[in-house]
């Protein structure tokens, strides 16, 4: 129980919290409510890294390491280009999309050359997302990074409001926009990379949980950040329980998240729109 179940529970809580909080942060700092945790190419990088490791070896350690490493490499490329040209939001997002697309092409190449009987199913299965591989021995990097990142965002949560202002306004308030944006996006990226490395790509949580949290507590990051963390952790724990128990074999978390999560949130969203008479 303690050896198998507890690490998995912790992993679910961490991954859910990380994806949700980083989604909230990306939406705020990139001034775009439609972006999610995967926007800057981190997840595509991690997916490519994992696929590469599965192609070369079958060691779970290397899969996690490569996923984390290539996820971070994506954000470093985005930053290197962004910083060179003034790190405006548009440059960061465009570079992120390009890096993401390039990684996807590389991933396609790996799938194409992978052994279709053995390696290809492993890659595909990994990409669908799941926490079946969470053990004490591979969980500690995620735990350490999560504790660090969540603490960071809980402390900086009010300042995030100011960072959602336009560059001109934030500068006029004396804030070093470039440095703050860099630091905050980097920590958010660490959270995403460490999560994706252990869970595979789980979509929508980073997009919808922040919106749900905003609907409940409002847009003030002082309350939005704790709410996103709580809701994200709780929802992923529930989804993982369903994924383990609903059928005789495990349902991949990425699929389940989409199948259950999206209709549920669509209902909530429509109810919210009805109550408020539109989106304000």
């Amino acid at each position: 129980m303690l050896r198998v179940r507890l690490p998995r529970i912790l992993a679910a809580l961490c991954v859910g919290a990380n994806l949700a909080v980083s989604g909230a942060v990306f939406q705020g700092l990139l001034r775009n409510p439609l972006v999610d945790s995967h926007i800057l190419g981190i997840s595509s990088g991690a997916a490519f890294g994992a696929a590469l490791a599965l192609l070369l070896t079958h060691s779970a350690v290397y899969v996690q390491l490569f996923a984390f490493g290539f996820g971070l490499l994506a954000i470093f490329i985005v930053y290197a280009i962004g910083l060179r040209f003034g790190s405006s939001i548009l440059i960061l997002v465009v570079t992120g999309i390009l890096v993401s697309a390039f990684y996807n092409a590389l991933l396609g190449l790996i799938k194409y050359v992978a052994d279709p009987l053995n390696t290809l199913p492993a890659i595909t299965y990994w990409l669908l997302g799941g926490l079946g591989g969470a053990r004490w021995q591979n969980l500690w990097p995620l735990l350490i990074i999560t504790v660090f990142g969540i603490t960071f965002f809980l402390l900086i949560r009010w300042r995030l409001n100011v960072l959602t202002l336009s560059d001109t306004e934030a500068l006029a308030l004396g804030i070093n926009v470039r440095r703050s944006r860099f630091a905050v996006l980097f920590v958010a990226s660490l959270l995403v990379a460490s999560s994706v490395a252990i869970s595979g790509v789980i979509g929508w949580i980073g997009l919808i949980v922040p919106h749900a949290a905003r609907a409940i507590v409002g847009p003030d990051h002082a309350r939005l950040i704790p709410a996103s963390i709580g809701i994200g952790a709780f929802i992923l724990l529930i989804l993982d329980d369903i994924s383990r128990t609903a059928m005789a074999t495990e349902i991949p978390l990425g699929i389940l998240a989409g199948l259950i999560g999206i209709p549920v949130f669509l209902l909530l969203f429509m109810r919210l729109l009805r109550e408020r008479g539109g989106w304000r």
Partner: protein, 264 residues
């Protein structure tokens, strides 16, 4: 020493070789409301952004109480100079209170949250501008005039003595323009110094104490509204003819000279 915010021989260029501002020298010295007039692209917004320190000049300097702005820490600077942009477009629907509270950012470290004293400053500013009743309304759901006042309240919360406003009369109907400018004039009497860019010479006549006139990045005139808002100078700035309307108290308004145009 006299408090003042000065531009000294200030030049600024966005693209190397093309000056957006050339050799501007002017002084905001507790002189109430100074209007900055000039056509589109004449450098009004750039001048305001240089004056508040977010655009370091290519040559010349901006000095506050005799100290070069570049030598002052941005947080320190933000406690003296507030900038009110023409458009404040929040991505998320922050309340009026939250928007004003952001004015405390120059006093709080990145890892701190606002304390009781910060909230007291916000309450004070909101009461000063009669916005207290609106404090929980979303910023996006209040009128354009109330939005300008909210941003002025943010400037007050910032502790700024100098408030630089980019076209606060844009997109406002006459009543809201009058409301906003009446507030500004009141605050100027209390000791705040305003620099306001505008496309309306008549607002400068009504509410300004001094007027600065820009044309293609040059300062072509500065002085009292009665001096600067003259057909000849305005023609130089806007490239069209104006006629004046005067009464016993002097110049009341300027209008485009339509009669002359129809003759030609």
């Amino acid at each position: 020493m006299e408090m003042s915010l000065d531009a000294i021989d200030l030049s600024y260029s966005y693209i190397p070789g093309t000056l957006a501002l050339r050799n501007i020298t002017l002084s905001l010295d507790g002189s109430g409301v100074t209007f900055i007039l000039g056509g589109n692209g004449s450098g009004k917004t750039t001048l305001l952004q240089c004056l508040c320190g977010i655009r370091p000049p290519n040559s010349g300097s901006v000095q506050i109480d005799g100290r070069d702005l570049r030598r002052i820490h941005p947080l320190q600077r933000a406690r003296s100079i507030g900038f009110v942009p023409q458009i404040h477009e929040p991505v998320f629907t922050y309340s009026v209170y939250q928007v004003v509270l952001m004015g405390r950012a120059p006093y709080l470290g990145p890892f701190s949250s606002p304390q009781k004293s910060d909230h007291e400053r916000v309450a004070h500013a909101l009461h000063a501008l009669d916005l207290w009743e609106l404090r929980d309304r979303p910023y996006t759901a209040i009128s354009g005039g109330e939005q300008r006042l909210t941003l002025i309240a943010r400037g007050l919360t910032q502790g700024a003595k100098y408030l630089l406003m980019d076209e606060p009369d844009a997109h406002l109907d006459p009543r809201h323009q009058h409301d906003v400018f009446t507030r500004i004039v009141d605050l100027a009497r209390e000791g705040f110094t305003f620099a306001i860019s505008s496309h309306s010479p008549n607002n400068a006549l009504l509410y300004g104490r001094r007027v600065v006139l820009l044309a293609s990045g040059r300062l072509i005139a500065q002085g009292s509204p009665q001096e600067v808002i003259a057909p000849k100078l305005l023609q130089e700035a806007y490239g069209m003819e104006f006629e004046t309307i005067t009464d016993a108290s002097g110049l009341r308004a300027v209008l485009p000279a339509t009669g002359k145009r129809s003759q030609s």
